[in-house]
């Protein structure tokens, strides 16, 4: 860092940046794991056992977390694209960030209910 350089202290944009990195990193790590578990497809016994395991309540909660990470990363990504390709189109930076974050949370709660529900209803 050169002399006289300042540290960027953003507001909502800084949080968006941090959350975008963390969620992207987590989704990518899951993708790596997921490619390995799907590769057992030609061994049906192993594949079915693993996917039975995904029905476990802990892994279901993990899937809800994955859903949130994916939703936030996807929605915030649209926000980044808007800022990059159409500069000035977003008048209220903080408002758009809050909207995307809220939408991700609301959709996670709705989707999360569907993910967790079969466990409680014993349908699995």
């Amino acid at each position: 860092m050169s002399k006289g350089a300042t540290v960027y202290k953003g507001k909502s944009g800084q949080w968006a940046f941090v959350l975008h990195r963390i969620t992207g990193f987590l989704v990518f790590l899951f993708l790596l794991l997921h490619i390995v578990d799907v590769s057992t497809l030609n061994d049906p016994h192993v594949y079915n056992q693993i996917h039975q395991l995904y029905g476990n309540i802990f892994l279901r909660l993990f899937e809800v977390g994955l859903l949130f990470a994916l939703l936030f990363h996807a929605l915030n990504g649209l926000r980044v694209i808007m800022i990059d390709f159409w500069p000035g189109v977003i008048k209220n930076e903080k408002g758009v960030f809050n909207f995307m974050l809220s939408l991700a949370i609301v959709l996670t709660i709705i989707g999360g209910w569907f993910i967790v529900k079969p466990f409680f209803l014993g349908a699995h």
């Binding site: 990195r21 992207g24 990193f25 989704v27 990518f28 993708l31 790596l32 490619i35 390995v36 799907v38 590769s39 497809l41 030609n42 049906p44 594949y47 079915n48 996917h51 039975q52 995904y54 029905g55 279901r60 899937e63 994955l66 859903l67 994916l70 939703l71 996807a74 990504g77 649209l78 980044v80 694209i81 990059d84 390709f85 989707g111 569907f114 993910i115 079969p118 349908a123 699995h124």
Partner: protein, 124 residues
């Protein structure tokens, strides 16, 4: 290096980064749909414990779904891999460690690309 270039010229490194930047936006928009549709089908429309080998067999009887999943694999790896490359550039400062971390990323990434592609192609 940069000093040897006259105004208006760009180093190949800069060109690469510009393309990487553009690729992230384009692949991001495509993944927005591919990844969220995938998550919806596998965790909300169907329960994850029902996504057995016979479920995959019925789904992949349609080659378009195979193509859909393969594109999710390719774009997910490239988009996530490039994201992680950026993260490595930001946080791994020592040149040797940085090269080593990136080499590991590329080896694991290409390995999983092959594994995933073989899984899609050899499924019976």
């Amino acid at each position: 290096m940069a000093a040897a270039l006259t105004r208006g010229q760009r180093s190949s490194r800069q060109n690469f980064e510009t393309w990487a930047w553009f690729f992230m936006r384009i692949s991001g928009v495509i993944l927005f749909f591919l990844a969220l549709i995938h998550m919806y089908i596998m965790h909300i429309e169907n329960d994850v414990t029902h996504t057995t080998v016979s479920f995959v067999a019925r789904r992949w009887a349609n080659p378009w779904w195979k193509l859909f999943d393969w594109w999710l694999l390719v774009l997910g790896l490239l988009h996530g891999g490039n994201g992680l490359r950026t993260i490595i550039d930001d946080y791994v400062k020592k040149p040797f460690k940085r090269s080593l971390t990136k080499a590991l990323l590329y080896v694991v990434g290409s390995g999983l690309f092959l594994l995933g592609t073989i899984t899609v192609l050899t499924f019976k």
